[in-house]
Symmetry: C2
């Protein structure tokens, strides 16, 4: 039973809340039973798991937690990354909000067969906020890291001003939905590396844009139909 | 030009970050040019607008801001609430995360004609995080507050375990999509007040559930088709 805040495991947990330690070690923390169970379900072995009351005094674990409410368990896990691929996947460029990155990982796991591919200037998917937003999907379907240019398939730039609807994207092979930062959108040089532009159909009297994770969800939902039509035709 | 942190306007802005002052006054703060412009566009008159540099010393406005990065402008506005209604709307019960409430308000504005109806135990839509997540939609389409039982139309409880897909919801009149808290879902007594249950179709190998704002977005997207078929038939 750990009874000192100076314990080396607790020190490491606190350090892993910051990016430099995550980069140095290739590790990250998952907090809460749901995530520990999700890791088990995905067959990911922890480096360390500390349960409040059994392994460590609850107040000490709470103090090491990034959750305001404390936590019953914290695990340390290896960061894992997938290869890009799948009939349908999502590429993010410059999505700096870790909650949006984590939510996108969870949503893509629910709606498509490929991973979320992280381009430049995206938030660290293994930061505490992103891990929490991704729920277990980070373990089941780790994100990929790759430049857009190297991805196989039809690259569809999501843009609210595009003429074509995502419902009318041609189904001829793998599709990669490409999303930029919430305000800036995709930079021109990234757009130039995509094949077509498409919009998610919204009401004309509504807002100009959606939350980036929501826009990605709707595009994947619609394009999952397109790619399943393709599978039916095959 | 305000040059003292003890100025009464700055004091009120700081107080409005907390719920008791918002409840006492019926006011709230919007930060950043986008929201100030959105309020203008929706014809909502501010009680007060303070621009950094023109009305107040920038450091003092930054100190009154709830944004870590500070802000160029803060406005104080009256809280407004809509009446429930529309061919398609979203009812939230126990959605305690202000970011999810705000994102739902933005998404509903983009996808349906009715407001987000807030039931018991939802986060305050006028809290700083919710205001930020809602973007301008809070001004253009204020939320409603009403008990589920009084809402007109077919009440569809969103439940991942329901047999029926949202795509197969019958189109016979107004539809209210009912969503519960992320983990707990809708309590039984609330479910009893709904008419049917339906799920958003997800991959069988994916996560059991979605982020609550994402689930609402996909349900509204699919049901907007259902209600537009109804409009076409009429």
């Amino acid at each position: 039973m750990i009874t000192s805040p100076d314990n080396q495991h607790l020190k490491q947990i606190r350090k892993l809340a910051k990016k430099p330690e995550r980069e140095r070690t290739g590790l990250f923390c998952a907090e809460g039973e749901d995530l520990i169970v999700a890791a088990q379900g995905a067959g990911v072995e922890p480096e360390l798991v500390l349960w409040a009351g059994a392994d460590v005094e609850p107040e000490l674990l709470a103090a090491a937690s990034t959750l305001g409410s404390g936590t019953r368990v914290i695990g340390i896990y290896p960061q894992r990354f997938s290869e890009p691929g799948g009939a349908l996947s999502l590429y993010l460029h410059g999505v700096g909000d870790p909650g949006n990155v984590g939510t996108a990982i969870r949503t893509a796991h629910a709606l498509c067969d490929g991973p979320v591919v992280l381009g430049p200037e995206c938030a660290d998917p293994y930061s505490p906020k992103a891990v929490r937003a991704s729920m277990g999907s980070l373990f089941a379907r780790p994100p990929a890291r790759a430049p857009l240019a190297g991805l196989p398939g039809l690259k569809v730039a999501l843009d609210a001003r595009a003429e074509r609807s995502v419902a009318d994207v041609p189904a001829e092979g793998p599709i990669v939905v490409c999303l930029g930062a919430e305000r800036a959108g995709l930079p021109d040089e990234v757009k130039a590396a995509t094949d077509i532009e498409a919009h998610v159909p919204l009401r004309p009297d509504g807002p100009e844009s959606l939350n980036v994770a929501t826009a990605g969800a709707l595009a994947l939902y619609e394009l999952a139909r397109v790619t399943s039509r393709m599978a039916d035709d095959a």
